[in-house]
């Protein structure tokens, strides 16, 4: 029979356990092998992250006392009070700045702007979110430190970091408001809610958790940044004194300890202590992001039922 030579054709005696037509054994073994080998690639992520956390902990914790977060740095040693407060202060103002532009910008884009304008702004924000921090830093130096004459200062650092964080806040806000289920909006408008009422009473409660998780994420990304700060402020051993005074930050202390070459062991310890503090803040913020995000997802799903 001519068709009997077709490889897809079934054998005349069709024994399911002894099928020689389809290279079944080899293909099944290949599949099993892939199934065993590919998950091993997770090790590429897991081993380094555990090693990194282990080393930061090991180098930071034995010498970690309350003094680390209560005293100011001195020379290559001392505590990290000033940089910790500095980091948090910069973060506070930077977050404020990014909320001002990111939140209201995102809100306007999601709720009020024409679709075409909104599209252009979204693309711009997406692309801005991918701009390297060093470029934002250089921009901050040229614009704020130099052109506006703020000098290396809390103001320049906060605004620069704020610019860096803005697109993340913007996108979170935009997506949050845009993903309020349409039937809810229709119901609100249909029952005679005025636009502002809809915004305050209906959309915002629904969107807020997602906005918050975006803000926390932006903070987690921002607080660890080094390049934008290094170009807009300088390390000082004192907590922030004023807007137009330099302010230090945890990441800057790691950086400057690195630059002095870690000649003294205490410099290494201090760098790792700063790294430890940063990790705690960053991971804490990430946990917040996850909690808030999963809440908001559950709530959104609830709205669709």
């Amino acid at each position: 029979m001519a068709t009997a030579t077709l490889p897809g054709n079934l054998p005349v005696v069709d024994d399911l356990r002894r099928d020689r037509t389809g290279h079944v054994r080899g293909r099944t073994i290949a599949d099993r092998l892939v199934g065993w080998l590919l998950p091993l690639l997770y090790l590429v992520a897991i081993v380094p992250i555990l090693d990194l956390v282990y080393w930061v902990g090991r180098a930071a914790l034995p010498t970690f006392t309350v003094a680390v977060i209560t005293t100011d740095p001195s020379g290559a040693g001392g505590g990290l009070y000033a940089p910790l407060v500095g980091s948090l202060t910069i973060l506070l103002f930077a977050t404020g700045f990014s909320l001002l532009f990111g939140f209201f910008g995102g809100l306007a884009t999601a709720e009020y702007l024409a679709e075409r304008v909104a599209g252009v702004i979204r693309i711009t924000a997406n692309v801005m979110a991918g701009t390297p921090a060093i470029i934002v830093g250089l921009f901050g130096y040229i614009a704020f430190v130099s052109y506006f004459g703020w000098g290396f200062s809390l103001a320049a650092a906060s605004v620069t970091l704020g610019v860096f964080m803005t697109p993340y806040v913007f996108r979170a806000t935009d997506i949050a408001y845009a993903s309020v289920p349409p039937h809810i909006r229709e119901a609100a408008v249909g029952s005679g809610a005025r636009p502002l009422q809809y915004l305050m009473k209906v959309a915002t409660p629904i969107a807020l958790p997602q906005v918050l998780s975006g803000v926390f994420l932006a903070m987690a990304i921002g607080v660890g940044e080094t390049a934008p700060l290094y170009l807009t402020t300088t390390t000082v051993a004192l907590p922030p004194l004023g807007f137009f005074q330099p302010v230090s930050a945890l990441s800057l202390y790691i950086w400057s300890d690195y630059q002095t070459g870690f000649i003294l062991p205490i410099a290494i310890h201090r760098a790792f202590q700063a790294a430890f503090l940063l990790l705690v803040i960053v991971i804490g913020l990430n946990v917040l992001v996850r909690i808030v995000a999963s809440r908001s997802r559950r709530r959104l799903e609830g709205l669709y039922q």
Partner: protein, 257 residues
């Protein structure tokens, strides 16, 4: 056309088939035979287990975690769930067509050739098998000049017939179809039905449909499922005109709610 089909007797025989989740039966004690050159329509109200049933015939059920399978399904006398039987081998014997067309993101030709490529068939054989499959699926005349075009450019009905051709290209003895026309417009439905009409001269067809009219037009036999049980199976004319069971009658006459 098809090789070595037993002249008579069951190709597939299902005996005491049950599918259960942790807390309920999706299928309960189903026994039915499918013999060569027949088209059996599986009908029943929504959620009665039609999809679950056809999926247990080619071991697709086991892809859903948490489902347990009881009973036996024999293909040419061999239990497909027996130890040492590879589901890959089983599925090759039984083509499957889904509710919505599921063409792959590749050319028309490569779609039809998929089942042959994975077993490393050589090019001449692939060419022949693809042409034959497209002819059997009634698509050849429409696409023979544009085999290299992406399959996604075809219309819905053409895509569904391509899916049938793709399943036929490995020359299975059984073709399982789960509501293959429910996403198609009347014209496309009619063409798919014409294809099935021809195919049933050849192989075993199991057609799940919610459309009694379609069952009447195409099938030799109707199997009526209700809440996971096989209520009644019989020749199409008998089931339509003289159902033995009340449930069947209600469903057939559209009085089922």
């Amino acid at each position: 056309m098809s090789a070595a089909l037993p002249p008579d007797g069951a190709i597939l025989s299902v005996d005491g088939l049950g599918v259960t989740t942790r807390d309920r039966d999706l299928l309960d004690n189903i026994s039915i035979d499918f013999s060569a050159r027949s088209l059996t329509a599986v009908v029943g109200p929504s959620g009665c287990g039609k999809t679950t049933f056809v999926r247990s015939l080619n071991r697709m059920t086991e892809l859903t975690p948490g489902l347990r399978i009881r009973g036996t399904v024999r293909y040419l006398g061999q239990d497909i769930y027996a130890k040492g039987v590879n589901p890959v081998v089983v599925r090759r014997r039984m083509g499957m067509v889904f509710q919505r067309p599921t063409v792959f993101p590749m050319s028309i030709f490569e779609n039809a050739a998929f089942g042959l490529r994975i077993v490393r068939a050589d090019d001449g054989e692939v060419d022949r098998a693809v042409a034959e499959a497209l002819q059997r699926a009634g698509l050849w005349d429409e696409v023979k000049d544009e085999l290299d075009r992406p399959a996604l450019a075809l219309s819905g009905g053409q895509q569904q017939r391509l899916c049938i051709a793709r399943a036929l290209a490995v020359r299975p003895r059984v073709l399982l179809l789960d509501e293959p026309t429910s996403a198609l417009d009347p014209g496309a439905t009619q063409r798919v039905e014409a294809t099935l009409q021809r195919l049933k001269e050849d192989i075993v067809l199991v057609l799940v449909t919610h459309n009694v009219g379609q069952a009447a037009r195409l099938s030799d036999r109707i199997a009526f499922l209700h809440s996971g049980r096989l209520v009644e199976v019989g020749a199409t004319a008998d089931i339509l005109e003289r159902p033995r069971e009340k449930l069947t009658e209600q469903f057939i006459t559209g009085r089922y709610e």
